[in-house]
């Protein structure tokens, strides 16, 4: 019994980490530009497909493939900002949000048209596939543990970037007060570009991490529908909030999948969200921040 609960919670945490990473992508872009990028889930699709091609078609090492995928998605995010989003600066935010929805569609159909990708489902091996840790009755899959560990590393790297580097602090400054940032000589274009780069790269990583659980498919990006409540739960603006929101939703979902009747699993995320928003409308980590532009 206890073992089962532990295992359920662990798998909830690991899937929750992935929700959290996607949520983080939403939050970073929202904080900088006030746009919600509904194509964030599709960054995962591209990431997973690129990693799949590198690993199974080109026989590259998993870690090398991971690195290349991160770079490729970063570049994709940067180009997207430079050539699509930047030309829309000054347009109403909702128009840009609509554009990201269209972008999501375009990416999905684009992926389905790539030879060798298409609409089929694929999988790839990772160094953790089929490896387990045993503690008495408790069997822990390395696949899940690796997701949690890699997420932790990523969070620490991001934390240090935003806390200690000149550009990281400048990104926070710009999201708080864009005009003042301009007075400091910070180039807002560069900040936006970097924001999209980081968010897309995060989406790519999330895609690779998710692949062993859901396999690689053009629709795997719909997980964004779970990551979005995670971001809202965390206060939509807070980096730790996004991660905690992701984990809460992951664990609830996984517990309700095991202990509640069919169907609860899929709405669990939204029930939690509604409950939390009733008690704390600003989200778990939200603060009523004043934003000046």
């Amino acid at each position: 019994m206890l073992v089962e609960i532990l295992q359920t919670v662990l798998s909830g945490i690991s899937i929750g980490c992935i929700y959290g990473l996607v949520a983080l992508g939403f939050v970073l872009i929202f904080k900088a530009t006030e746009v919600i990028n509904f194509a964030q889930g599709e960054m995962m699709v591209i990431g997973a497909f690129i990693a799949y091609s590198l690993i199974t078609m080109l026989n590259l090492d998993y870690w090398l493939a991971l690195l290349i995928t991160i770079l490729a998605l970063g570049l994709f995010g940067m180009l997207l900002e430079r050539f699509v989003l930047r030309s829309l600066i000054g347009e109403p935010v909702f128009a840009i949000v609509m554009l990201t929805i269209g972008l999501g569609y375009a990416i999905r159909s684009g992926v389905s048209m790539v030879p060798g990708w298409g609409t089929d489902t694929y999988g790839f091996h990772t160094p953790f596939t089929d490896k387990n840790l045993h503690y008495g009755d408790l069997v822990i899959s390395w696949e899940q543990v690796s997701v949690i560990l890699m997420t932790l590393v990523l969070i620490i790297v991001l934390f240090c970037f935003f806390r200690y580097t000149r550009m990281g602090i400048a990104m926070r400054a710009t999201s708080q007060n864009q005009l003042a940032a301009v007075y400091m000589g910070i180039s807002v274009n560069r900040v936006f570009s970097l924001t999209w780069t980081i968010s897309a790269a995060l989406g790519g990583i999330a895609g690779i991490l998710l692949a062993p659980f859901t396999f690689v498919h053009m629709n795997m990006g719909f997980i964004g529908l779970k990551a979005f409540p995670a971001a809202v739960l965390g206060g939509f603006g807070s980096i730790p909030g996004a991660m905690v929101g992701g984990v809460i939703i992951g664990v609830t979902e996984s517990l309700s999948g095991v202990y509640l009747p069919e169907g609860w699993k899929d709405i669990a995320a939204y029930i939690i969200l509604i409950l939390v928003l009733m008690l704390r409308p600003e989200g778990l980590f939200g603060i009523q921040e004043k934003k000046k532009v």
Partner: protein, 255 residues
Amino acid sequence: MPQLEVKNIETYYGPIMAIKGISFEVEESSIVTILGANGAGKTSVLKTISGVMEPEKGTIEFMGKRIDHLDPDKIVRMGISHVPEGREVFHDLTVKENLAMGAFLRRDKDGMARDLETVHAYFPVLEARRGQLAGNMSGGEQQMLAIARALMARPKMLLLDEPSLGLSPVLVKEIYDIIKRINEEQKTTILLVEQNAWMALSTAQFGYILELGRIVMADPCDELMENEDVREFYLGIKEESVRGSKRWKRKKRWR
């Protein structure tokens, strides 16, 4: 040659003309003030200089080079730092991080460390509060932080937009004393925009009076202080004994 030379600039907000052809100059290492009531266009003038707004017409030269169509970061790099109206510190950054952002364009670690010391010497409270979030500081402390942050760029010229806004008279005096010291000790040129005419006129050497987007007077500050109209409309000194009965139909002479 003056350090800053503004010639016939016109600046718009959409169809609204905020600056209607203004010319003025600022000598190196001097303190110059622009006085004006609400909506006169003071902030717009400073924004046009720092490149946040582009003038539709006219030119701005800084140390002999045109800056009127440069991006704001280029202008900061050339040595103009803007302390905006209402302070605009980064609320969720610490005092230390705010100061670091002031030096965003700099790479000279040693020089930055030295300037941080200088700034802490002018504003000891900032050193004491270096780990505190700027948003949790008092208005006066935030004003000091905003000035210190601009100084961290080691500017040749400081644009100050209403540094007295919302501060108690004691604090205003304190801040103005420091502004004067910065000007004397660092030789930083200061272009000061104010509604607090008394403070500004007793600090600056030369003053311009701005009304509805036009400059209506340009004189040394001691002469402006003696000017009847300035005394009445900007310093609030009514000379009833002289004009008494005619008070009701008195008009500003420059209109």
